[in-house]
Amino acid sequence: MSDSLEAYLVLSALLFSIGTFGFLARRNAISMLMSIELMLNGVNLAIVAFGAFIPNLARDGSVIALMVMAVAAAEATVGLSIVIAIYRNRKTPLVDEYDAMRR
């Protein structure tokens, strides 16, 4: 089981779907960012699994995964700063109350 590429890809698909559900269903902006982190981790797991099992991609998979991690760190920094800045103005972390442009 741990020697088949399919097992890791199915695991990463499940993790990505969990993240998708969280992003679509949660009301809190920080919960949505946490769900995005789960989705990025699922994609990263698929990349590392490809790197470990496909001979042409050996080592490149790990390098790409490290790049994805760096970009995810940058995304988390900017995203959380935006949430904190909005919270300072609107006093709520719930995304469905950010409706100033709809009224």
Binding site: L11, I18, L24, R26, I30, V63
Partner: protein, 198 residues
């Protein structure tokens, strides 16, 4: 029935399932001893803590479950023969991003917000969409004939470093500029304005 007893029974059930399921699969001959059991246990921890991240009501606990999820994923990276990625996972996700998320939670938590309304009204549709997505991807994975090696390839750290500083040196430098931009952007966005609302 007192609530404490229920909690004890529920946690015993969870732990029993988590330990018993791999043992049962091993006894049935579906998985082998060693790496397979390790993979199964880590996958269980990963998926259960991931589900807890998206379903629990208390957002601080969601953040703590996210740390468990990232830790299990680091274990799976080790199992895949990518120890440097596992180390980076622990340093970047558990060490940096989780702490950032926990600080953001503490900065934005309000007592007045209704804690019971955790989910949007489209939560059922979101669950259906996520399940359909998972099924479609699993079918796609099962239907594709992967030209995969039968054995995992172990990635040595020195080979990885040589590749990172030869073929991938330009993306490496671009990522450093991106991180600098993210740091400056984060400080700029989150700073308190002069004379603004406290």
């Amino acid at each position: 029935m007192p609530r404490g007893l229920l909690t004890v029974i529920a946690s015993m059930f969870v732990v029993g399932t988590a330990v018993g399921l791999p043992v049962l699969l091993w006894l049935l001959g579906l998985i082998r001893f060693g790496d397979d059991i390790l993979f199964f246990v880590l996958a269980e921890i990963l998926l259960v803590s991931g589900l807890l991240v998206v379903t629990m009501r208390d957002i601080i606990r969601c953040g703590l479950a996210m740390i468990v999820c990232f830790g299990a994923l680091a274990g799976i990276y080790v199992l895949l023969g990518a120890p440097l990625v596992a180390g980076a996972q622990v340093l970047v996700y558990i060490g940096a991003i989780s702490v950032l998320v926990l600080f953001a939670i503490m900065l934005t938590q309000t007592k007045s917000a209704p804690a019971s309304l955790v989910f949007q009204t489209q939560a059922v549709g979101a669950a259906l969409a996520a399940i359909v997505l998972a099924i479609v991807v699993v079918i796609a994975v099962a239907a594709t004939a992967w030209e995969a090696a039968a054995q995992r390839v172990h990635t040595a750290t020195d080979e990885l470093a040589a590749l990172l500083f030869s073929d991938y040196v330009l993306p490496f430098e671009v990522v450093s500029v991106l991180l600098l931009a993210a740091v400056i952007g984060g400080v700029f966005l989150a700073r308190r304005e002069e004379g603004g609302p406290s």
